[in-house]
């Protein structure tokens, strides 16, 4: 456990709404080791961004972290004395839960963790910069806040950081305002802010999603450079599996507030263990194959107010059987390798759920796309 830089265990972040409690993050566990790039993948609304904010305890009202533990090095960022509340109890209102005494105080969280230990990079680079302050001054302020630098030293360091993220003419760009820079350059400035505080972990929340592919490629190149130079760990949140393959060491796949598969990049792509990941991979357009229509995943992700019973993916899953509606799978190790390969699918032997003898069920939303899915994916018998 001690080798982990960040370990997240059974994290739950819920949002009370008029229609019930939205379980945006519902029992997520993963870990990040020092210097490692971990991808966090999933559809929009899977809860990826809420995970990022929960790590830094920046969940907006009325959302609340109601359970689980987040440990960073030897510090507890999120922790509770009693076990998390179980499903049905919280359907209407959120329990008022206090963090345990071992958890860092809000003030220590701000002073010791945010920025200088864990930095966060957001999706929209132009929105993430204050429009009325020059980018250099913003960078300098962040450096002053998180490192023991006086104004002059911070300014020098800021220019050095602008150079480090491959911004041309950094001294001239220092006095530019965000609207004078392109999105790509703004994202580089934000990277400089994150890296400049010399954190051990950078959480990047879809940082290249708003950029076009050539700019994205440039940014990824810079990130790889920085990662090699500073040995910073990254939690790279994205819905782009291409970026994951390009950048990450390990991946966690999220679906509807849960992690459904976690493995090294190679294992995830070549030895996929969860039907959802399989479906995601099949949905990627491939230049070497001509198809009439893409293999989209049938249906839409269920709302987290009232998730389906059993496995949350079963209404859309081509491999679904009766047992899937009854057993709620946790994300357990299903294959050993260099990295343990975890999957939350009962078809694996690690789950003693008698999947083999369970009758297949009719997947309601998946009527027409189902057949194509069966043939191309080879069906459940393959594994």
């Amino acid at each position: 456990m001690s080798e982990h830089l960040l370990s997240v265990d059974d994290l739950r972040t819920y949002f009370p709404t008029d229609r019930g409690v939205v379980r945006a993050v519902d029992g997520v566990s993963f870990d990040v080791r020092p210097g490692e790039v971990v991808g966090l993948v999933g559809e929009s609304g899977a809860g990826k961004s809420v995970v990022a904010r929960s790590l830094l305890r920046l969940v907006d009202d009325p959302g609340r972290i109601v359970g689980g533990e987040v440990r960073f090095r030897d510090r507890t960022l999120v922790g509770f004395d009693d076990p998390p509340p179980d499903g049905p109890d919280v359907s209407d209102s959120l329990p008022d839960r206090e963090f345990s005494d071992a958890t860092l105080s809000a003030a220590r969280m701000r002073a010791d963790v945010r920025g200088n230990e864990i930095a966060l990079v957001f999706q929209d680079p132009t929105e993430s910069l204050n429009p009325v302050v020059s980018v250099g001054a913003q960078l300098r302020e962040v450096l002053e806040t998180n490192r023991d630098l006086d104004r002059a030293a911070a300014r020098e360091e800021a220019v050095a950081m602008l150079r480090a993220v491959d911004i041309p003419e950094p001294a001239a760009r220092y006095d530019d305002y965000p609207h004078q820079l392109s999105r790509g350059l703004c994202q580089r400035v934000l990277l400089a802010m994150a890296v400049g505080c010399e954190p051990s972990l950078i959480v990047a929340d879809e940082p290249t999603t708003a950029l076009d592919v050539t700019i994205e490629a440039g940014i990824l190149e810079t990130v790889r450079d920085l990662q090699a130079r500073y040995d910073t760990a990254f939690l790279w949140i994205t819905h782009d599996l291409g970026v994951v393959a390009d950048l990450c060491d390990r991946v966690a796949v999220m679906y509807c507030g849960e992690v459904v598969e976690q493995a090294s990049v190679e294992d995830l792509f070549y030895d996929t263990k969860h039907p959802y990941t399989r479906a995601l991979l099949d949905a990627i357009p491939r230049p070497d194959r001509t198809v009439d229509r893409f293999d989209v995943i049938p249906g839409t992700m269920p709302e987290a107010v009232d998730p389906p019973s059993g496995c949350r993916f079963h209404p859309r899953c081509p491999d679904a059987r009766a047992v899937c509606t009854e057993v709620t799978p946790d994300c357990r190790v299903v294959a050993d390798g260099e990295q343990p390969h975890r999957s939350a699918c009962v078809k694996h032997d690690a789950f003693d759920a008698d999947y083999e003898h369970s009758p297949p069920i009719d997947v309601a939303d998946a009527t027409d796309a189902d057949e194509a899915g069966e043939t191309e994916q080879g069906g459940p018998d393959d594994r």
Binding site: D166, T214, I215
Partner: protein, 335 residues
């Protein structure tokens, strides 16, 4: 790799060649708007006159208290006396008309181009020196209102919840009472009808609600911005975020409103001194001049015209400038 960001830079070029930021850009845009330019000229003139009057009436008066400066001859209205006459001295027949005209009291003279008042004091000089009271009180009172209101509104808007409720309900109680009546009531309670300082502070406090409501509405939008969240994620405290990110991004409307409010405040000061609050004879002020002129309107109609014109031109000047600034600073118009 090196070529990549450069390409981004080229794409971004249009904005960067002519930076539309800072005071220079604001003034340049303002210069293209004729009415705003006229407002700017009026405001600049009034401010210049008021500054000279302030130095002569207040600074010199203060310095004259000290032996060293007194031995140099420094005293209140030193400048006015040296160049011409003191605005409080009685030097000519009373109620003379402007130069070139004639009335029952005599022929207008070049020495008193706008005529004299009921005590034979030069109207032009009193008008110029009267600007000091108007501008001094209006600027300080608006500043007090803007700073106080911004603080209240920013805190209320950013923190929300019961803080917001408590602050804004209090502000709305103030807002519900008509402006002038509230000022008069406060002055009556404070028993300070002659104190310019108390009048200034009172008008300032009464200005708070408008600014508080204005900035709160901006802050409600700004606090949801990603850069606020990003600043929090970078380890900034709530107050640091409010001061460095929320307030600067909410100030545009406050600057505009402030400029317009200075005009309104000048009107209020004039109304107050017309009613006998704030300044007392012989200190010149536009409102008090109007009050005196009303009593002698039948004898010398001209006398009542000048302070009224001064108030009108100044208030219109500030309002035009405010309108111009609104257009310049409005992000929707400038993009």
């Amino acid at each position: 790799m090196a070529g990549n960001p450069r390409a981004e830079r080229a794409e971004a070029a249009p904005g960067s060649d002519s930076p539309r930021v800072g005071w220079r850009a604001t003034l340049a845009t303002l210069g293209r708007d004729r009415s705003a330019l006229a407002g700017l000229v009026v405001v600049a003139t009034v401010l210049a006159v008021a500054t000279v009057a302030f130095v002569d009436a207040v600074v010199f008066g203060f310095l004259g208290e000290f032996g060293f400066f007194a031995s140099l001859g420094v005293e209140q209205y030193w400048l006015a006396k040296t160049v011409w006459i003191s605005p409080t001295a009685e030097v000519a027949p009373e109620l003379l008309p402007p130069v070139g005209l004639e009335n029952a009291f005599g022929q207008g003279r070049l020495a008193h181009p706008l005529g004299t008042d009921d005590r034979g004091r030069d109207v032009l000089l009193r008008l110029l020196y009267g600007s000091r009271v108007a501008v001094q009180v209006a600027l300080v009172a608006t500043l007090v209102g803007a700073v106080g209101g911004s603080a209240v509104g920013a805190v209320a808007g950013y923190y929300g919840g019961w803080v917001d409720d408590a602050l804004m309900r209090g502000v709305e109680v103030l807002y519900a009472i008509p402006f002038l009546i509230l000022v008069l009531a406060l002055l009556a309670v404070l028993q300070a009808r002659d104190s310019l300082l108390v009048v200034t502070a009172t008008v300032g406090v009464v200005n708070v609600p408008e600014f508080a409501r204005l900035i709160r509405s901006r802050v409600l939008a700004v606090r949801e911005a990603t850069y606020v969240e990003a600043a929090r994620a970078a380890g900034r405290s709530h107050l640091g975020v409010v001061w460095h990110h929320v307030v600067p991004n909410s100030l545009g409307p406050v600057v505009v409103q402030g400029t317009v409010r200075v005009g309104t405040a000048i009107l209020v000061i004039a109304a107050l001194s017309f009613l006998g609050f704030g300044v007392s004879e012989p200190t010149p002020s536009w409102g008090a001049m109007l009050a005196t002129a009303r009593d002698v309107m039948l004898q010398n109609l001209w006398f009542s015209l000048w302070p009224g014109l001064a108030i009108l031109v100044t208030v219109v000047g500030f309002t035009l400038l405010g309108d111009g600034l609104r257009d310049t600073l409005d992000p929707r118009r400038s993009q």
